[in-house]
Amino acid sequence: MAGAEPLMLEVKNLNKTFDGFQAVSGARLRVEKGQVVAVIGPNGAGKTTLFNLITGQLTPDSGLILFQGEDITGRKPYLVCRKGISRSYQIVNIFHRLTVFENVQIAVLSFQKKSFHWYAAARKMAVAETRAILKSVGLADKADQISGSLSHGDQKVLEIAIALGNKPKLLILDEPTAGMSPEETGLSLTLLRRLCTDHGLTILFCEHDMGMVFSFAHEIMVMQQGQTIVQSTPAEVRRDPRVQAAYLGGTDKCSA
């Protein structure tokens, strides 16, 4: 630490192998407090695996993950979450039989450590906090709908709303606009920008929509075949010959 404030997140030389396939190989990542960092790379570059390693869904073979200077390598997902890291998922991953309100409410209840309260009436608890989150993401008027019946775009927004329920310091978003229409993507971008300014959130995300990546991120980390090629500002990443090779010269197709 040496006096200075520790980084929000630092990933050092992280490795993960699946049955001999090196999904993540020596990945590096630095996220400062208040920063928006994007991870990009061709399909199969290991972006989602990297996120799963950070949030504890997967355990790395070797390497180090530091959150605010604290080693969280290999911690279980619920413990990582309690440290202050929330995430959303690439494929919609919500509580589809519960209402929109309840989806966010259980995250808030978990954050408030009320998950073992067995006698109090849940409908009277964490209501203000939940309503505030729904309002901030624009789902307030759909609060009583069953979440499984929402449109795909709304479900992706609900994904983010659930992640906000834990009042995260670091929000990790795995392709927040995947499958969205251009209009919905624009709205989501506005929403994320507002969350950053209003809540002072630090965001780490990966995304295939290059327009969104280059306009939203302060820094971009480029991955290829599990390795970190570079992490730098959008302007420098754009100029970097290795990135151009990965996206244009390689066999992988780029979606943007």
């Binding site: 949030t55 869904q57 279980k76 997902p77 619920y78 979450c81 309690r82 929330s86 995430r87 998922y89 991953n93 919500i94 509580f95 589809h96 039989r97 519960l98 209402t99 309100f101 309840e102 409410q105 259980i106 995250a107 209840l109 978990s110 954050f111 009320k114 998950s115 073992f116 309260h117 067995w118 006698y119 109090a120 009436a121 849940a122 409908r123 608890m125 069953i146 659930i162 992640a163 329920g165 834990n166």
Partner: protein, 310 residues
């Protein structure tokens, strides 16, 4: 939503009034039958706490029912302690059994959890079935004394009614509490629930113990009504029947399993008079149910569980 709550309150108080007044116009046999329905319904509801609201494949729930029944029977027959101790022993021993079986099975998920529970439960059944000197083996134990205060048709009936209402009320509160909400979150999506900071396994274990405890109480009630215990109480076919009751009544609705239990007990009692193949009727009912009411009877009327509204 307010009027739905209101409607539920009206239906429930009507039912409770009927049950309270029943001894003044129903014969002894029908009181026995109502008692049996209440106990079976309580048992099915306790199963549904983990099955319908927790998404856990609780394949051998009747073991905890049996453990409760035998605990009560053995304490009152062999220990010489007052019957109150027997009534306390039933839920405690059932909770202990669910803790032990739960600790072993909880690490497995879904179907494997259910299969391991089925085999461990069958092991308990086999011990009870063979241990003649202690459990009476396949003969069971008969002529079990119950406390004098309730030792009459009416006494037993009211005791069963009151205990069932208290247990149902407690479980209803649980389903609608933060714990119940999060439990339903685990049912819908365990991975995501863990990602929002919930220790899923410990919640599942607690859920198991809750379900087992109420099953144990139902077991003690059964002994109170029947005056005997036998190994069939923890045989796997009863567990299967309980799952059918939950399905039949609607397992996303709190009162679904109670209704399912009532239907099956009534079917068995009245169709059973005419033919020993009453399960054939049950089979046909089930087939119709799966095709036309996949959410169960109350699930069809309710569209969505009461417990999940706010």
């Amino acid at each position: 939503m307010v009027d739905r709550r209101y409607r539920l309150a009206v239906i429930l108080s009507g039912l409770v009034l009927f049950f309270l007044a029943a001894p003044s116009f129903l014969s002894r046999y029908y009181l026995y039958l109502i008692g049996l329905i209440l106990i079976t319904g309580l048992l099915a509801t306790s199963l549904n706490m983990v099955l319908g609201f927790g998404g856990m494949y609780q394949f051998h729930h009747s073991v905890f029912y049996g453990v409760g029944a035998y605990s009560f029977a053995l304490v009152s027959m062999k220990s010489g302690l007052p019957p109150a101790v027997g009534y306390a022993a039933a839920p405690v021993m059932a909770a202990l059994a669910s803790l032990i079986i739960g600790l072993i099975t909880i690490r497995l998920s879904k179907l494997y959890f259910g299969m391991l529970q089925l085999s461990l439960g069958s092991l308990v059944w086999a011990i009870v079935y063979r241990w003649y000197s202690f459990t009476g083996g396949d003969d069971g134990i008969h002529g079990i004394n119950i406390p004098e205060v309730i030792d009459s048709t009416r006494g037993v009936y009211y005791f069963t009614l009151v205990v069932t209402i208290i247990c149902m009320y407690l479980m209803f509160r649980m389903v609608n509490s933060p714990f119940g909400r999060i439990f339903q979150g685990i049912r819908d999506n365990p991975e995501r629930t863990e990602a929002i900071g919930v220790n899923v396994k410990s919640h599942q274990l607690v859920g198991q113990i809750i379900a087992g405890t109420f099953a144990g109480i139902a077991g003690a009630l059964f002994v109170t009504v029947e005056g005997s215990v036998f190994p069939d109480l923890m045989f796997w076919t009863l567990s299967l029947e309980l799952i059918i009751m939950c399905l039949l009544g609607g397992w996303y609705v709190f009162f679904g399993p109670m209704l399912g239990a009532a239907i099956i007990v009534v079917l068995r009692t009245f169709v059973g008079i005419y033919t020993e193949y009453w399960t054939l009727v049950l089979g046909i009912v089930l087939m119709l149910l799966i095709y036309f009411l996949p959410q169960g009877i109350l699930g069809y009327f309710q569209r969505r569980p009461l417990s999940e509204e706010h």
